[in-house]
Amino acid sequence: MKAVVIGAGLGGLLSAARLSKAGCQVDIFERLPITGGRFTNLSYKGFQLSSGAFHILPHGPAGPLAQFLNEVGADVKIVRSDIITVRVPLKKGSQDYEKGFKDIPFNDFSTLLSHKDRLKIAFLIVSTRKNRPSGSTLQTWIRSQFKDEWLVRFADAFCGWALSLKSDEVPVEEIFEIIENMYRFGGPGVPIGGCKGVIDALESVIAENGGKIHTETEVSKILVENGKAAGVLVGAEAHKANLVISNLGHAATACLCAEALSGEKDSGYLRRLETLKPSAGIKICLAADEPLVGHSGILLTPYAKRVNGINEVTQVDPRLAPPGKHLTMSHQYVAPDNVKNLESEIELGLQDLKEIFPDKKYETLLIQSYHDSWPVNRAASGMDPGNETPIPGLYVVGDGAKGKGGIEVEGVALGVAATMKKILG
């Protein structure tokens, strides 16, 4: 079988590794000179920043991505870093960190609730595993159970960090699937070498199995013959294949085969694509001589104005920064209406960091924003249309087609695994 993969981001490379290992002849076409998409390293002033992701795997060495890498024989070391702390004001009733703060373990979030609500949480933690809530957003569900703004703040910080969404944009089913996955696979981990450690390992697998990656090569059209995917057009050259995997998200993929999707039977699919909303976010990369977060996991900041969470990957892999330096990265959700006000959103994020690290010395290395055609996620978590398209033999992988309950790259791996099962059985 001949397969073409469009886009050498994580989803494309995972697919190519699996298909080439199964004996397919695989060609990967990537428009940019670099591979890895929004999951690779960017060298900047001696630091290994990233093109998107935070150098973490949300479920660490036991998660869906780590399992997939293991199955295809990609040699990556993933170190568990599952400490999650939550920064809360020192004084009860404070709405920010100005008058002092303390960090509590993630699992102690309920200690900030009333005695009655703590009992209710304990009951819900057990009962919701059997009877999952459904049919509303996470925020609506929380408000239907509790009258406590702390829980909404906490949910917003978690959803902002993990999905770049607010709790009123996330289906409650998606969050409960994520919670179940946290039980199943555990918390985060850091790949040694950062995102690029994963990308390099996948490229080795692809090369060993005869797959070819063509960088600086743009696909201009997906060929469809007799209603089926038949290959791609690169310049004037046709590359025939039985299988086309697109790592571009559904909307951009549909644009490459617009003629083939112009029939009446495809109008439902095209209408669905119009409803897909990419999620937006801002990452601020800091350099410091001393640790800012102080541990290898995640610091959630529910009382900041914009920043949702921060990690410090040099706690696990010091080589991601020059000797003696730390690389600390914050993430903040950007609401759809605020994408046009990115500069003021960034200012609020920078003010937050001053409040979160009041007595620390650090330098802002680079501020990176993601939205629209280069977003945090091409489709908001829990909202994507899956991996299939109306054209047999054409599949979509990547962060626009993740499958349920998968946080970021874990979702990418779940989506690719499901697609490969459909193709290879």
Binding site: L32, L42, Y44, L49, G52, L342, E345, I367, S369, S373
Partner: protein
């Protein structure tokens, strides 16, 4: 160097600029240090950079 409205501010261009000539804050901005070498054009994921003729 002209940076068009496609720019999302991802900073990828800044990391590949050999002159350290690109500042990013919601959008990329070429500073006076820019020599119009065009390296950044290749690395932009959203086709936002055009070299002026």
């Amino acid at each position: 160097m002209k940076i068009n409205d496609n720019c999302v501010g991802c900073g990828q261009c800044a990391s590949f600029c050999k002159k350290g000539a690109i500042e990013v804050k919601g959008k990329a901005l070429a500073t006076d240090a820019c020599v119009d070498c065009g390296v950044c054009v290749l690395y932009c994921p959203v086709k936002a950079i055009e070299v002026l003729a």
